[in-house]
Symmetry: C2
Subunit: 340 residues, 2 copies
């Protein structure tokens, strides 16, 4: 049987299709698409179908699981409205069973309508299912394009103290920083260049994708978000965007200056994640970390090392492509277990 | 004679028309328009003409002075390109003398083409002309919609140590924070609510205009920037946007919670400006401050008080409307002096 798991984020929609044989995973296929839900949520239905059909005919799919975080985008007045709107779109698309990942398990549409907040931003619940099979007592750190989930697992069960994005913003379990879309000015106040500290300009001139593009830490095909100025994705385009963050341009700053800036920005983002990880690690008395997501090596593992924690990578058990869509894989797994 | 002074910013274009009689100011009329130059710079020419004609027929104008900061927007690859492009637009519009405010004085088009960087972000030079008449030895602090200029004046002459936006980002003389357009996450890392600290979400969910709207510190007609979600400008609309900054919504947070958040955010922005002001004040050994701009009372004066500096307000010499467009008034004054 084939189960599709979707993780519908604010900026990216991820898909994993798992082919099960005798209850065991035979094959996993993954894909994702940049879909800015704050302005293009009317394209969600088409995107979900297209993503499946790029992998296999839609009538081969036996069940569909849905995780979401996109209900937070400002196209929706409240999370409740967002969850219901997204679910309404999904329901129209499939003739097979559809389930929604909530903190209390896999919900039917009726259950979702009665308790929409259970489904809001619960995709980390799905990821925790996979991580628990790798390590029964650990913290998993999953840095995606936009956010970082830092979730404690004990005896194979997630035990996050915060149960909503809002609560997790206070417990260290959600650090709203990512590998691609994060505005540099959200975690950097000033940047040293040639021994002087330059305060940053509060605009959206450049994002973290530009920094890791210049440093060669992400592949071209991973740079899936829009650019801040609508220009290209070459290293020079990224450098030009980064120069504006200190009110400069490439007449003023050399490529060496930009690289110096990027190393500092990278360090600051590692520290930002380490701060949340420290809070969770000390509170829960856990010192093993499993890293995943697009930022698993360049951000999560570095943050864990900074705190002298033991690091395992989901990359030792899954391919890089699978790690990037870990919540979608977890979603497909939970959906399959719920219909058996 | 009537002289028009324009201050062409990245987000707002300000106009002051000064009517001189026997060399003295007889009357000042002002206006401004929200013009996001990063996406609508092709509307600049029309906007300049419309702004004048709302005040008087264009053929009554005897000279036009231009200041700019819009060359930094990411529609332009470099500042040089931005300055030349904006000047080219201005030249086509007027049959009377046009001059460009640079750090070295009022430049002709030919001088601008040879030395565009002199004209980039030099509008504070124009403001310093007015302030020097109020106080010969002081620091002026001008918080507009987007940025804050902190400029030392000695013996009636500005003596800013940084000569470009880039340099001023290191000297404390430019703090890129403002009353309307500033992303809250650029100067706030976490916000206390009911005794817990909530880390902020790095998106552009809300701006400072929302905070001062909720607190009743700006008038409705001053809320001239676009809203982050494209929704309205009621206090509830602003509160909803602010709730998203901690991944919440108005189902989760009450208006009292939002007001508590706003007071904290306001304090943090005052401290941000105070940091730059302290740097300039200690270095230049100046303890008098003249405040102006839309944020003169709610931000600049508060920052000066925090540092126990003496505060004078340009509002004691000019109307509030005039203070908001202080660089445009200074531009008209410099232009008039240059043609005599």
């Amino acid at each position: 049987m084939k189960v599709a798991g979707f993780d519908i984020g604010g900026a990216n929609t991820d898909l994993a299709i798992i082919d099960f044989e005798d209850g065991e995973i035979k094959e996993i296929k993954t894909d994702f698409e940049y879909l800015p839900m704050w302005c293009e949520n009317d394209r969600l239905g088409v995107t979900l179908v297209d993503l499946i059909e790029k992998i296999c005919p839609i009538d081969e799919i036996d069940a569909v699981g849905i995780s979401m975080t996109a209900e937070l985008v400002d196209a929706f007045e409240t999370k409740t409205e967002g969850v219901r709107d997204i679910a309404a779109t999904c329901e129209k698309l499939f003739d097979v069973p559809v389930g929604y990942i909530g903190l209390s398990g896999v919900l039917s549409l009726e259950e979702l309508i009665n308790n929409p907040i259970d489904v809001a931003a619960a995709n980390w619940k799905a990821t925790s299912q996979i991580v628990a099979e790798i390590e029964k007592d650990c913290i998993f750190v999953d840095t995606g394009s936009t956010t970082t989930d830092i979730i404690p697992i004990k005896n194979g069960e997630e035990c996050a103290k915060g149960r909503t994005d809002f609560e997790r913003s206070a417990t260290g379990e959600l650090v709203y920083t990512g590998t691609l879309r994060t505005n540099l000015t959200s975690f950097v106040d000033s940047i040293p260049i040639n021994g002087k500290e330059y305060a940053v300009a509060s605009e959206l001139f450049a994002s973290t994708a530009d920094v890791y593009n210049v440093l060669g830490l992400i592949k071209d095909e991973d740079f899936v978000c829009a650019t801040c100025d609508g220009a290209g994705k070459s290293k020079e385009d990224s450098a030009r965007r980064i120069s504006r963050v200190v009110c400069a341009d490439l007449d003023i700053l050399s490529m060496d200056n930009i690289i110096e800036m990027c190393h500092h920005i990278h360090n600051m983002q590692v520290k930002q994640i380490a701060k949340g990880l420290k809070q969770v690690s000390e509170r829960e008395n856990l010192d093993k970390v499993v890293v995943t997501g697009l930022g698993k090596d360049i951000l999560c593992a570095e943050a864990a090392k900074l705190l002298n924690l033991d690091v395992k990578s989901m990359g030792d058990y899954y391919t890089d492509e699978e790690c990037v869509v870990a919540p979608a894989i977890g979603t497909a797994l939970m959906m399959k277990n719920s219909i058996l």
